[in-house]
Chain length 338, copies 4
Amino acid sequence: MIKVGILGAAGYTGGELIRLLLNHPEVEIVFANSESNAGNKIYDVHEGLIGETELEFSSEMPFDKVDVVYFCFGHGKSEAFLKEHTIPANVKIIDLAQDFRIKGNHDYVYGLPEIHHDEIAKCQHLANPGCFATCIQEGLLPLAKAGLLTKDIAVNAITGSTGAGQKPGATTHFSWRNNNFSVYKLFNHQHIHEICQTLNELRPEGTPRVIDTLEEGYDKEGITVDFIPYRGDFARGIFCTEVVTLNEAKTAEEIATLYKDFFKGAAFTHYSDKALDLKQVVNTNKALVHTEVFGRKVVVTSMIDNLLKGAVGQAVQNMNIMFGIDETAGLKLKASAF
Amino acid sequence: MIKVGILGAAGYTGGELIRLLLNHPEVEIVFANSESNAGNKIYDVHEGLIGETELEFSSEMPFDKVDVVYFCFGHGKSEAFLKEHTIPANVKIIDLAQDFRIKGNHDYVYGLPEIHHDEIAKCQHLANPGCFATCIQEGLLPLAKAGLLTKDIAVNAITGSTGAGQKPGATTHFSWRNNNFSVYKLFNHQHIHEICQTLNELRPEGTPRVIDTLEEGYDKEGITVDFIPYRGDFARGIFCTEVVTLNEAKTAEEIATLYKDFFKGAAFTHYSDKALDLKQVVNTNKALVHTEVFGRKVVVTSMIDNLLKGAVGQAVQNMNIMFGIDETAGLKLKASAF
Amino acid sequence: MIKVGILGAAGYTGGELIRLLLNHPEVEIVFANSESNAGNKIYDVHEGLIGETELEFSSEMPFDKVDVVYFCFGHGKSEAFLKEHTIPANVKIIDLAQDFRIKGNHDYVYGLPEIHHDEIAKCQHLANPGCFATCIQEGLLPLAKAGLLTKDIAVNAITGSTGAGQKPGATTHFSWRNNNFSVYKLFNHQHIHEICQTLNELRPEGTPRVIDTLEEGYDKEGITVDFIPYRGDFARGIFCTEVVTLNEAKTAEEIATLYKDFFKGAAFTHYSDKALDLKQVVNTNKALVHTEVFGRKVVVTSMIDNLLKGAVGQAVQNMNIMFGIDETAGLKLKASAF
Amino acid sequence: MIKVGILGAAGYTGGELIRLLLNHPEVEIVFANSESNAGNKIYDVHEGLIGETELEFSSEMPFDKVDVVYFCFGHGKSEAFLKEHTIPANVKIIDLAQDFRIKGNHDYVYGLPEIHHDEIAKCQHLANPGCFATCIQEGLLPLAKAGLLTKDIAVNAITGSTGAGQKPGATTHFSWRNNNFSVYKLFNHQHIHEICQTLNELRPEGTPRVIDTLEEGYDKEGITVDFIPYRGDFARGIFCTEVVTLNEAKTAEEIATLYKDFFKGAAFTHYSDKALDLKQVVNTNKALVHTEVFGRKVVVTSMIDNLLKGAVGQAVQNMNIMFGIDETAGLKLKASAF
C-alpha cells in the first residue's frame, strides 16, 4: 500500500483527491492536513463522503509515515511551504500548483504522461500540469512532435466554474454565471508558459520556436499561442479547439493517423473519429481528441475534466507511474454522462 | 412625471428597479444613492444598462426633489435609516424590506394589490410584500377569503438564486448550486409572519385562526402553514405548490370559478385552466395560478418572478396605484420565455 | 465471473448499466442486445465509453451463455417479451421496468435491499424498484416499520430530466426545461402503487392502512400518500421531502435514532445529522436521509441518483446480493460532486 | 398603427415576434397564421402570453388588410411560399429566413441597420440577417470598413439552444445539453455566405477579397472567415470572439476609437470599454462590442440575443425604419440580467 499525505486537503482539489484515493486499491491515506478544519470529519467539508470514511482532517504532517505527499495548495504556496518545512528525501512530492512547472533551479519533473512517462517513472518530485495546459497540449502534441507547428495557433478553451476554486466571488456567483458566458485573461493566461515549454521541447530542429508571449510580448519572431479562455456555465470540464495552419495541406486521414499513432499507448488519451462533446470526459480521467481538416488548416478539438485529467486524476496517474503500479489504478471512473 | 429617489441602488433589487424605471413612461429617476459607488456610472455596476442611461450613483439624498423614495436596503436597515434621517411628510416611501410588513406602531400599508388596492391608493408609506410571501398568498387568497382554510396547509416553494441577494456565498457558488437542490429554513422561513397576518385578516369569523408558528410554535390550536423553502438551480423565479384540505369536497370547477372570480380585476394575477411552468412568468410582473382537486384536497400551483412580482415589479405596481396612474405602466414586460 | 446479458442496451438505463458493469470486478458482459444498433460499437451510442470497451451491440440473445439477464425495456415490455421468449430457469432475471413490482401471479421479488435483503438473496427473478419509489420509501421506511404513519403523508419529489428517458420531447427540450420548473402527474404518479404496497407490508397491525389512491380514489378510509412530482432543471437525481404527522410528538433525537438504527446495516443508505443537498448522491449508489421535527410533524429529506440507486445501481446491488458477493462490488463510485 | 400579418406564427421566432408586437405602441396584429394551430389561442402555444392577449391563430392570410407581413418560416420555405401565393405589391415583406439574404434575382434588401439604414428605409422587401451572421458582422464591420481585414479571421461563436429551433432532437435534449459543450458545422456554417457578402461589400478597393469557402473551398487567394460554431448550454444568446491580424499594429485606443465612431449613431449597438458578458444583452435588442489589442492582433468580443437582435428584434427594428417611426419603438426591453 502506498501511504499518502495530503496538504491543503479542504479545497476543491484536496476533496477530489480524497474521493479518488478512498477507492484506490493500493493507497492508504495517512493524513489529510487542514489547519482550519483540524478535528472535523472529512465529510463535514467534502459532504458527499458521508458513509465512505470516518477520516478526520489533521493539523499534523507526519512526513515520516508516508511515501508520497500531495500539495493541494494555491499557486505560489508550494514553494513557500518548502522554505519553511523539510520533507524527507525519500518521500515523493506531487505538486498540483504551478510553482515548479517551468524548468529551473529545481528537480521537479513536469508530469504529462503522454510525453514524459519515463522521467515520471524515475522522478522523486513531480509538478502536475495545469488544467488548460493539459487540455491544449493533448490537442497539439502530435502536430508539435511532427514539426507541423509553423504558424500562430488559435486556441479557444472553455472552462467550468470549478477551475476558479472554492472561494466564492463575482464570476462564480450562480446568479451571474448561470446561462452566462464571458472571456478572461484574454491572450494572457499563465498556462501559456508551460504550453510553450512543452511545444519548444517537442519541436524538431529547424522549425520555428514558440514565443512565450507573457514574457516576450507579441513582437518577436516565432509562433504564438493565441489563447482565449472562456468561462462556461457548467461546473466541470474544459473544451478546447486548436486551429493550426500547416505549411502544406495534409489529408484528414493523414492527420488522424498521426494522432492515433501518437496516442497509441496512452492510458487515458484517445483519438475519436467522430465529433465529441464535453460530457464524454466529465468525471473521468480521459482526454479525448478529434481532428478535422480544411485546406491547410487542421482544427483540433480536445477535452478533459479539469479536476481529474486536469488536476488530481492526472496526479494519481503520475503517482501510479512513479510507484510502478498499474497506471489506471483507482482511475477507472464511471463518467457521469448526464 | 413622478420623481423618484432610490436608496440602496447598487444591489440586486436596486438594479432591477432602475431597469424598470428607465422604461417607465411617467417616471424620472432623480437620484440613485449608493455611498460605495458614488460617482460611478449606473452601468458600471448594473452592467447591462450600457447604452440606456448615463446616470451616475450619487452619495446625495435630495428628498425635497422627489415624490417617492424606494428603500432597497437589506432587511432591518429601513427602520434604522429612518431613525437617523428625516424624509419630508409629502414624500411617499416604498420599502422593499420586511421592516414594516407586520402591522404595529407605524402607518405602512402592506402592499398586496390583489387585496389592498384601496388602502394602497390612499397610503403614504408602503411595505412591499416578500417574494415567497407574495407567491404563496396568491395561491391561497381565494380559499382564505372563502373560509375554506380549515386544516394545516402544506406549502412547498422553490426559489431562484437571486432571492439570496448579491453577496456571494457557499450556497450561491455556481460550482455548488449548479444542478443541485436543497432545502433551507425548513418550517422556519420569516415570511410565515406576513402570510399568517394576511390569512387571518381574510378569514371569515368562525373559521380557525392561522398560527404564526415562528412566534407560537407547533403546539397551539389552529391551522399551520407548513412551509418548506427549496433552493432551485435557476436564477429567477419562485414556483409553489399549496395543498389545502377542505372540510367538504368541492369540484374542480367550483374551485376554478372561485379563483377566476377572485382575480377577475387583478392587473397581473391570472388563473390558468392548464398546468403551468415557471418560465411563463420569468421576467414579467405576473402571478399565475392553477388548481387541481382530489377528493377533499385542493392542490394549487402559483408562480412569480421573485425580483419582479416578488419585489420591485410589485413595488412599481404599488407606486402606480399610489399615484393614481395606469397600474400596468412600465410593467408591460416581455417574458424571457427561454 | 458472473456472466451478464443486457436487453434494451441502447437506452439510458442500458447505457448506465454498461458503464457500471465494465468496471465491476466480477462481471463479464456476454451480450448487449439492441436490434436497431446491432453491429455498432457500444461507444457509438453511449459515446463516453470510447477507450473503455470495443464491445458491440448484438441482435442475438444467447441466454444459455449467461447467469443473469437485465431487462432495460420500457414499462410494459418485460411482460410482453416473456410471452414471446423463453429464458432458461437457471438464468436469473433483473427487471428494471414496473411490470412485476406489484405482487401477483408471478415470482418476482421486489428488490429494495433495505427491507428485502434475504428474499433478494434467495430469489431467481427480481423486480427492481422505481426511482421515485426508492427515494420516497427510503425516507419513510423507519417510520412505517415503527407504526408511526397514521395520517396523510405530504410527499414532494423533484426529478432530473434523465428520469424522462432518451426520447426527446417538449418537456425535455433544453430551451424549455433549462431554468424552468413544473409539476406533472400531480397526485397521480404510478409509483404510488409500489410505495403503498411496501408501506402496508411494513405497518404493524392496528395501524391504519395506506390507500392506493390510483386504484381507490381519495374517498376511502386510511392514509394517503399525497405525492407531487416536479420536473427539475438538472439531469440526474431525485430530491424528496416527506412530511409525516405523528399521533404524539417525538423529539428530534428519538426520530434520528429510529432512522440510524433502521439503516445501521445498509450498504448504501445513510442517515445524516446535517441538512443535505442533492449533489452528495449524484453519480453514486447512495441514498441519504435527514430528519427534522416540529411539534408532531417529522420532515424527512431523502435523495438518490435516479439512474443509480433509482435504477441500475440498485439493480447491480441486487445482483450482488443474488449472487452472494460483496454487496458493494462495482458500486464504489466517485460522486461527481460538482 | 402599422397593421401586421405573421406567417409561421407558432414557431420560436413567431412567438417571440408576437411577444414584441403585443407591446409595440404603433402595431396592431391583424393575423397570426398557423395551419396546425388555427382556432387555438396564441397563449395555448406561446404559453407565457396568458393575460396579455386573447388573439387566436388563424388559417387565413388576409394580405389586403395588412401593411407588412413577417415570414417566420424555416429556411427555404419563404421562396416556396411566394411561388404559390401572391402578396399585394403595397404590402411590405420581412423575411426571417435565409432565402433572400444573398443578392440575386430579387429585390430584397439585407437588413443590417448599422450599414444599410437608408436602403432599409426605402425598401419594400427585406431579408433579415441570420443570428450568427449579425453577431459576427457587428464585431467586424468597423475593421472591414477601414480596410483592416487583410488576413484570415478566427471566429469562435457560442450559441444558445433556441438557435436550433422548436423541434426537439438529440442535441437539444436537456439530458444531453445540460452542462455539455460541443462544436458543429465546423468551418461550414451557412452564415459564412452572408458574412462574406457584407465584408466584400465594405472592403476598400485594393484590399484582399473575402473568400466564400462554402462555395470555393480553402485553396483560393484571399481572406477566409474561419468560423467555429459551438453549442452552449444556455437557451438565449450568442457570444463571439473575432481575432483579426492587422498588417501593422495599432494601439488599443485607435481601435476603440474606430469602433466608437463607427457605432456612434447606432440605435442598439454599443461599444464597451470594459470586458462584457453575455447576459448584458440577453432579452434585449442590443449588440455589445469590446476590443483588446495584442501586437498586430485585435481581439473583438461581440454578443447579441439570438432571438432578438439575431432575429425578430432586428426584424422589428427594420420594420420601424421601413415605416419611418422611432427605430427603438417596441424594443425598449428590460434585460433579464439574471
